[in-house]
């Protein structure tokens, strides 16, 4: 009995720090509608800064707690700078474009932390005065855990007072419900957004700072915590602080007990809980369907078939690519295969997001399922490359069929989060299920058939498959089915009113996108000869999102352009020191210069050039 009580207390202590980071994320989303992927980075910064302050100040009781508050304040200022310098310029960009900026910030902050604090894990000091354990029912409980258990509700109470007793707090709650109305009432939104970012970032910083007596400070903290923070925010209902608290307690306590029964479950448990909650309550426990994302964007132009000149340019590009083995070396061919895989993956994600309006934060799930499906077909079933190349996309299709059934019941950010949960569940299973998937060691020796084993032969095979897949997707976009998905994105009410079951079509579209992502994963597996769990990871999903959003979500060529630029830049900068910083900075620069993506930016550039070189002649 006493053991279980101790376990409960551990769960509650974990809940406190999870609550701090999640409620900051929730406040930022509620007010600005930005899904801040860099929130984990702010958490990490909080831990590093607290470490530096506390170790420099001779760590007395005062020094320790001063360090905590100083870290929170400093991270709050970083958040303020993020909002002021970058995100503020993007509020009028298409929905979710701000995501790309936050991905860029994740990379930049990673390398800044690496430059300042180094790559080694840092062990923080114990909290003075709370360094020992007390016995409760005979079980040793760290005093610091007890302090944390108190801090969580204390912060919740503070935020409650702030939100209900101050004018600013009331405005924040109003903006969470209806941002446009708050603007119409004459409230300066810029000021409100900056303040929300400051508060949210400071809470994340405090959460990170409070972790230093409990875990080593490392560069992995950001991505480790962000997925779980999303889960808590979504379960609680996005924008609800009380919801975040309940969800943090629910997740942490469940986890504390679940590990006793089934130790492997801790990786996937939060995501399973989130999936269950979202299926039962599509807006989380305390969430309400929020107002829209601010001003409506510029309407998308109707789809046109490519002009003659466009077709010729495309044909020339494809021919140049196909002719490249004649001049290019092996490394270039390998890079080109990566490029083709990325293009097909991005095109399948664009089909889902751009055409179908279903934003996915976990599209890597199907890429990875395809890759593992193919690898397992070779290794366990003993199929040849041909069979495996069918098994990969089929596995992707099956995975998308199962997860899609749940996902199409939701929309917007909740849908995106459920796809993230799907990917994390698949990743967790793959990581844990050593006997079948090899766990962290992956599956090695997935080589193409002898006839396709040379770099040139495999390049042609990959080109045929990937270009074929992209062509098929384009064809579907122009078909009645593709039109209907796009129509359902424009107006679900109208789709229903002309007799269509939108959800069934979306389910089919989800499955198709999963199938082609699986196909891309298959080509990838054979090109590398091995598969590891990170093909299913958040980073892979994020890469896809960057390609699609950076390329321009409203253009069919957008994902191809985005994938091309992404792979080439990554290939170039990843040889440099601090490549993450450079890559992140490039992403931020592109985002600020072309808020409608590369395709949109190029289109504007073309129009500008035409105007300056004499508009009369062009007519």
């Amino acid at each position: 009995m006493s053991f279980y009580f101790a376990q409960l207390l551990t769960g509650l202590a974990n809940a406190s720090s999870l609550f701090l980071i999640a409620c900051g994320l929730s406040i930022i989303f509620g007010v600005t509608r930005i899904v801040n992927f860099a929130h984990g980075s702010l958490f990490m910064l909080g831990a590093y800064i607290a470490y530096s302050v506390v170790t420099r100040l001779d760590a007395g009781v005062f020094g320790f707690w001063f360090g905590m508050l100083a870290a929170a304040l400093a991270v709050g200022l970083v958040g303020l700078a993020m909002e002021f310098l970058i995100l503020r310029r993007l509020y009028r960009a298409p929905e979710l474009f701000q995501l790309v900026a936050t991905f860029g910030l994740v990379l930049v902050i990673q390398d800044v932390a690496l430059a300042i604090w180094g790559a080694a894990d840092l062990l923080g000091p114990r909290a003075p005065g709370l360094a020992r354990a007390v016995r409760i029912f005979g079980e040793p409980i760290p005093q610091y855990d007890l302090a944390l258990i108190g801090i969580g509700p204390l912060v919740l109470a503070g935020i409650w007072l702030l939100f209900h007793r101050t004018r600013w707090g009331i405005l924040v709650r109003a903006a969470t419900q209806d941002r446009d109305m708050v603007g119409a009432l004459g409230v300066n939104q810029n000021w409100l957004f900056s303040a929300a970012f400051f508060l949210g970032a400071a809470l994340a910083g405090l959460g990170g700072a409070l972790q230093i007596p409990r875990e080593a400070v490392s560069l992995q903290m950001d991505l480790n915590v962000i997925a779980e923070a999303f889960v808590v925010v979504v379960i609680g209902g996005m924008g609800s602080v009380a919801g975040a608290f309940v969800a943090a307690v629910l997740i942490s306590v469940l986890n504390a007990f679940a590990v006793l029964v089934f130790p492997q479950i801790s990786i996937v448990l939060p995501f399973v809980v989130m999936a269950v909650v979202l299926v039962l309550r599509p807006h989380g426990l305390f969430g309400k369907p929020g107002s829209g994302h601010g001003a409506p964007g510029e309407p998308e132009a109707p789809l046109r078939h490519m002009s003659g000149r466009g077709r010729m340019a495309l044909a020339a590009l494809v021919l140049a690519m196909l002719a490249s083995p004649a001049v290019a070396g092996d490394f270039t061919l390998i890079l080109l295969v990566d490029l083709l895989v990325a293009m097909l993956f991005a095109a399948s994600l664009h089909f889902l997001m751009g055409v179908g309006g279903m934003v996915s934060f976990g599209h890597a799930a199907f890429f990875g399922i395809g890759a593992y499906g193919a690898a397992l077909a070779v290794k366990t079933l003993g199929l040849g490359m041909g069979g495996a190349m069918l098994a990969g996309p089929l596995a992707g299709a099956l995975g998308a069929l199962v997860f899609g059934w749940f996902c199409v019941r939701l929309s917007g950010v909740y849908l995106a989060m459920l796809t993230l949960a799907a990917a994390q569940i698949v990743w967790g299973i793959t990581f844990q299920w050593q006997d079948v998937t090899g766990g962290d060691d992956g599956i090695l020796g997935v080589w193409p058939a002898p006839w396709a084993s040379s770099d040139t032969a495999y390049f042609y095979l990959a080109a045929a498959i990937c270009l074929g897949g992209i062509w098929a997707l384009r064809r579907v976009v122009h078909s009645p089915f593709g039109y209907l998905l796009r129509g359902g994105r424009d107006s679900p009410v109208r789709a229903e009113a002309i007799g269509l079951d939108l959800r069934r079509h979306q389910w089919a579209g989800f499955t198709l996108a999963g199938t082609l992502a699986g196909l891309a994963g298959t080509v990838f597996a054979f090109s590398k000869g091995s598969v590891f769990p990170d093909v299913l990871g958040i980073a892979q999903s994020v890469d896809g999102l960057i390609m699609v959003l950076l390329g321009g979500i409203h253009a069919l060529a957008g994902p191809l352009l985005g994938a091309g630029v992404f792979v080439l830049i990554e290939d170039w900068v990843s040889r440099l020191d601090f490549w993450r910083f450079i890559f992140g900075a490039i992403i931020l620069a592109v985002v600020l210069l072309a808020p409608d993506g590369l395709a949109g930016g190029l289109e504007r550039l073309r129009r500008l050039l035409r105007r300056t070189t004499g508009g009369g002649a062009a007519r």
Binding site: A301, R475, P480, G482, R486, G487
Partner: protein, 257 residues
């Protein structure tokens, strides 16, 4: 036999009776107006007939078949078209493509992943657009249209399925007065030619009295009058509702007491 039989239709939102015990019949080829002050329950009534809202009580029979509980798409398949108070169109498509989508659904080809959608049913779509005077706009992006044109487009979309019953929720809301008359004259012409039945809600009394064969008056969820234009014009209760609700309210409260 009447096309539509509505019996005892009731919907409460919390303690508020939005629609209470409304019953009426609709004959084939009839042009029926549903009028009443704001909050009378017109749109709620509409949404229950169209399947967008489930009634708490009551039945809606279309040619003898109960349609309560069916989703809007099934009711559409049974021949009930709909236009919206605030227009709902596919903004990223052209005017013609919007009509083509309805035709694609009508011909059950929405899962076709091979054909080029823009080339399907072009002639049929253009004919429907010509019927509503929209042929000149066929190639334009829907997002560019003026509001009145969007309303006409919605009518063309609704006609694509050859409906037996058309539900039009405030078809002229947000239009200029001259446009209103033109749109309703157009609708009346289509109704007469195709022999379909229409229920529409409307605030503009000129439109109502000019075109409706019969008028139902709702107030605070209840059906308070029913009749031709002349009968409604002469009805004392209706006058009270529109010119000053004090008497009605007092009597209503007396009823409840």
């Amino acid at each position: 036999m009447s096309l539509l039989k509505v019996r005892g239709l009731t919907k409460k939102f919390g303690g508020l009776v939005a629609v209470g015990d409304v019953s009426f019949d609709l004959a084939r080829g009839e042009f029926l107006a549903l009028i009443g002050p704001n909050g009378a329950g017109k749109t709620t009534c509409f949404n229950m007939i169209g399947g967008y809202l489930r009634p708490d009580r009551g039945s809606v029979r279309l040619e003898g078949r109960d349609i309560v509980g069916l989703p809007p798409r099934r009711i559409w398949r049974m021949g009930v078209g709909r236009t919206f108070q605030i227009t709902e169109t596919f903004r990223s498509m052209t005017v013609r493509e919007n009509v083509q989508m309805a035709l694609i659904s009508h011909h059950r080809r929405s899962f076709d992943m091979v054909s080029a959608a823009a080339k399907l049913y072009v002639a049929e779509a253009d004919a429907l657009l010509a019927d509503t005077g929209m042929e000149a706009h066929a190639g334009r992006p829907c997002s560019e249209l003026a509001y009145g044109d969007l309303k006409r487009l919605e009518l063309a979309i609704a006609m694509a399925h050859k409906p037996r019953l058309l539900l039009m929720d405030e078809p002229t809301a947000g239009m200029a007065p001259s446009e209103r008359v033109a749109l309703m004259a157009l609708t009346a012409g289509i109704v007469a030619r195709e022999g379909l039945s229409v229920i529409f809600t409307e605030h503009d009394m000129d439109v109502v009295f000019a075109h409706a064969h019969r008028i139902l008056v709702l107030n605070r969820g209840r059906l308070i009058a029913e009749g031709t234009g002349d009968e409604i014009r002469a009805d004392a209760t209706v006058r009270e509702v529109y010119l000053g609700g004090g008497a009605i309210r007092a009597r209503d409260e007396a009823d409840h007491a």
